[in-house]
C-alpha cells in the first residue's frame, strides 16, 4: 500500500494551522511548522503605476488650486454625495458625468459640453449651422436669417416633363414647397464622383401634378479632377412662398448638348447614378447682412435612381 501523505490529499494539504500565524504542512512527505507565508504581491505594470501616480497627484492638486475655484467646486457639490476633491479629479480626468439632483434633473459639467461639441464637429464646423436628420444620417446645414430653413425637402419624387418634351422622358429630382420667398442666386449639388462629361442642372416650378410650369436651366458643366465638390451653378431665379419647386441634375451625352428639357431637343440623356449624388443646396442673399451670401437650403440625402423608362 503506497505511503499516504501526512495530512491527506488535496492540492495543498495542511495540518492544524493557526491562520495568519503558524502553518503546519508537509514538504516532500515530511511535516513541518513554519511562519504563515507572506502573501506575494502581484507585480503591477508600468501603466498601472502611471495611473496610480496620476490619481495621487490629482487628489493632491485639489488643495493647490485657487480659492475661487475651490469655492466653485464646493458649491457644485453641496447637497450631493460627491466630495469637492472627487469632482475636481473628475474634471481633471475630463470625464463626462452628471450630478443627479432632486426633481430628476441632471447637471453636466462644462467639460462634458466641450466633449460633446467636439464630437458634433465631425458633422460640421461652420458657425451658425444646425443639425438636420436626412434619409441616411445627420447633416449640418445653415440657418437662414429668419431662423428657419426657407424651404425643405418634401420627398423624392418622380415628375414628368411632358409639357416640354415630346419624347416624354421622365425626370427625377428633389421636390419641395417654399415656405418663404427669396431670390435664388445659385444652387450646389453634392456628389462623390462624376464622370468627365457635361452635366446640366435646372430648378423648376411644378404644378400639383408635377408638370413643369417654369424652369431655369444652368449652363453646362463638365467636372474635372481638379474641381472641388460641391458643384455650384449660379442662377437668377425667384422662389415664391407657397409654390412647389423641384431641382434636378443630369448628364448630357456630350458637348454642347443643352439637355432634354429644351423643346427642340430629342436627344436621350442619362441620369446621375444614385450612389454619386448626395444632396443639393440653394443659395440666396441674406437681406439683413447685405451682399453676404448665405445658404438657406437643407441638405437632404438620397440620390436620383435610374431613369424610368418612358411610358
Amino acid at each position: 500500500m503506497p505511503a499516504q501523505p501526512p495530512f491527506g490529499g488535496g492540492k495543498k494539504p495542511r495540518g492544524p494551522s493557526l491562520r495568519g500565524v503558524i502553518m503546519i504542512d508537509a514538504t516532500r512527505g515530511t511535516p513541518r511548522v513554519r511562519k504563515w507565508p507572506k502573501k506575494r504581491r502581484i507585480k503591477k505594470g508600468s501603466k498601472q503605476y502611471e495611473q496610480m501616480e496620476w490619481w495621487f497627484q490629482a487628489n493632491r492638486m485639489h488643495k493647490y488650486i485657487t480659492a475661487r475655484e475651490q469655492i466653485v467646486i464646493m458649491e457644485a457639490t453641496k447637497g450631493t454625495p460627491l466630495l469637492p476633491r472627487d469632482l475636481f479629479v473628475m474634471l481633471a480626468a475630463s470625464r463626462v458625468y452628471g450630478i443627479a439632483s432632486p426633481g430628476n434633473r441632471t447637471a453636466y459639467p462644462t467639460v462634458a459640453r466641450k466633449d460633446v461639441s467636439e464630437s458634433l464637429d465631425l458633422l460640421g464646423i461652420t458657425p451658425g449651422y444646425i443639425l438636420v436628420r436626412g434619409v441616411d444620417e445627420w447633416s449640418a446645414v445653415p440657418i437662414p436669417s429668419s431662423g428657419a430653413p426657407a424651404w425643405w425637402f418634401n420627398d423624392q419624387y418622380n415628375f414628368r416633363t411632358t409639357s416640354f418634351n415630346t419624347a416624354g422622358y421622365s425626370l427625377k429630382g428633389f421636390r419641395w414647397t417654399a415656405h418663404e420667398s427669396f431670390p435664388c442666386t445659385g444652387f450646389s449639388f453634392y456628389a462623390r464622383t462624376l464622370d468627365a462629361q457635361p452635366y446640366r442642372a435646372a430648378i423648376m416650378e411644378l404644378d400639383g401634378s408635377n408638370q413643369i410650369l417654369d424652369i431655369y436651366k444652368a449652363d453646362p458643366f463638365t467636372p474635372t479632377a481638379t474641381v472641388e465638390r460641391p458643384y455650384f451653378w449660379p442662377c437668377e431665379y425667384d422662389i415664391v412662398e407657397g409654390n412647389t419647386y423641384a431641382i434636378a441634375m443630369w448628364r448630357t451625352t456630350g458637348s454642347p448638348y443643352v439637355g432634354m428639357l429644351l423643346p427642340s431637343s430629342t436627344t436621350a440623356e442619362w441620369w446621375l447614378p444614385t450612389t454619386n449624388l448626395i444632396g443639393v443646396r440653394l443659395r440666396t442673399i441674406d437681406p439683413n447682412v447685405g451682399d453676404t451670401l448665405l445658404d438657406t437650403s437643407v441638405i437632404f440625402t438620397g440620390g436620383i435612381s435610374a431613369p424610368i423608362a418612358t411610358p
Binding site: K38, T66, A67
Partner: protein, 217 residues
C-alpha cells in the same frame, strides 16, 4: 509583514521567536514579520535619506505650536501622528535636493482655502523678513481666523538643522507679517498658510505656500 489577530494564541505578543519571527505592535496594530538582520550598506542614497530624516526630526522638535497645528489636524482620526505626516510629506519632496525650496509648511486639513498670493521680501531691519498675503473671500459661513507665516534659514536638507524657526500668526487685516529674529543677511525659506473656521465650527488649514527671501542685513 502580516497583521495578526491573536498572536501566539494569546491576547498580544511581542518579541522575536527563535530568530525567525518577530511579533510587535505599531500604533496598536499587532503584526508579525520575518526576523531580519539589516544589510546596512551605508550607500550614498541611504545616508542621504537618513540625514534628511534626522534633519526633519530636529525641525519638528523646534517647530512651535502654530507650525505643528496643521499637521496635527491632518493626522486627526488617522493612524499616524502629525510628526509622521510632516516627515513623510517633506521627505518625499526634499530628499536629494540641495535646498529647501520644496518644503511643505502645511499639508492642508479639512479643506482650508489657500491664499491668493503670498510674497516675501527683505525686511527693513536686520534679521527681518516681510511677508504679505492676499487673502480670498471665503464662502458663506466661513471665517478667516488668521494668516500664519513661518521663516527659517535655507539649507541643504541632508545637513543638520541649524534653525531658528520664526513663526507669526496674524489675526486681523491686513494679514501681513514682519518676521524678526532670523540671522542677518541670509537666504531664508518662508512658508505661509491660512486658518479658517468652517460653519460647523471646525478649524481648517490651507496648504502652505513657499517663497524665498533674504533677511535684512
Amino acid at each position: 509583514m502580516a497583521k495578526v489577530t491573536a498572536p501566539l494564541l494569546s491576547f498580544g505578543g511581542s518579541g522575536a521567536i527563535a530568530k525567525t519571527a518577530v511579533y510587535a505592535t505599531w500604533r496598536g496594530v499587532p503584526y508579525v514579520r520575518r526576523h531580519v538582520i539589516p544589510a546596512n550598506p551605508k550607500s550614498a542614497a541611504q545616508t542621504t535619506t537618513r540625514s534628511t530624516f534626522a534633519m526633519l526630526r530636529e525641525f519638528w522638535k523646534l517647530l512651535p505650536t502654530d507650525g505643528r497645528a496643521p499637521w496635527d489636524a491632518f493626522a486627526t482620526g488617522r493612524k499616524f501622528l502629525g510628526l509622521n505626516a510632516f516627515i513623510g510629506e517633506n521627505m518625499r519632496v526634499i530628499r536629494g535636493e540641495t535646498d529647501m525650496d520644496l518644503f511643505i509648511g502645511s499639508p492642508g486639513a479639512r479643506g482650508g482655502l489657500p491664499p491668493d498670493a503670498m510674497s516675501a521680501t527683505t525686511g527693513s531691519s536686520a534679521g527681518e523678513v516681510d511677508v504679505d498675503f492676499t487673502v480670498p473671500t471665503g464662502p458663506s459661513g466661513w471665517t478667516l481666523v488668521s494668516s500664519v507665516a513661518m521663516a527659517f534659514p535655507d539649507q541643504d536638507p541632508s545637513n543638520d538643522f541649524g534653525g531658528p524657526i520664526v513663526i507669526n500668526s496674524e489675526t486681523s487685516t491686513p494679514w501681513d507679517h514682519t518676521l524678526a529674529g532670523l540671522p542677518d543677511g541670509v537666504a531664508c525659506q518662508i512658508a505661509g498658510w491660512l486658518t479658517w473656521t468652517k460653519p460647523n465650527g471646525q478649524t481648517a488649514y490651507s496648504v502652505g505656500i513657499t517663497d524665498q527671501a533674504t533677511s535684512g542685513a
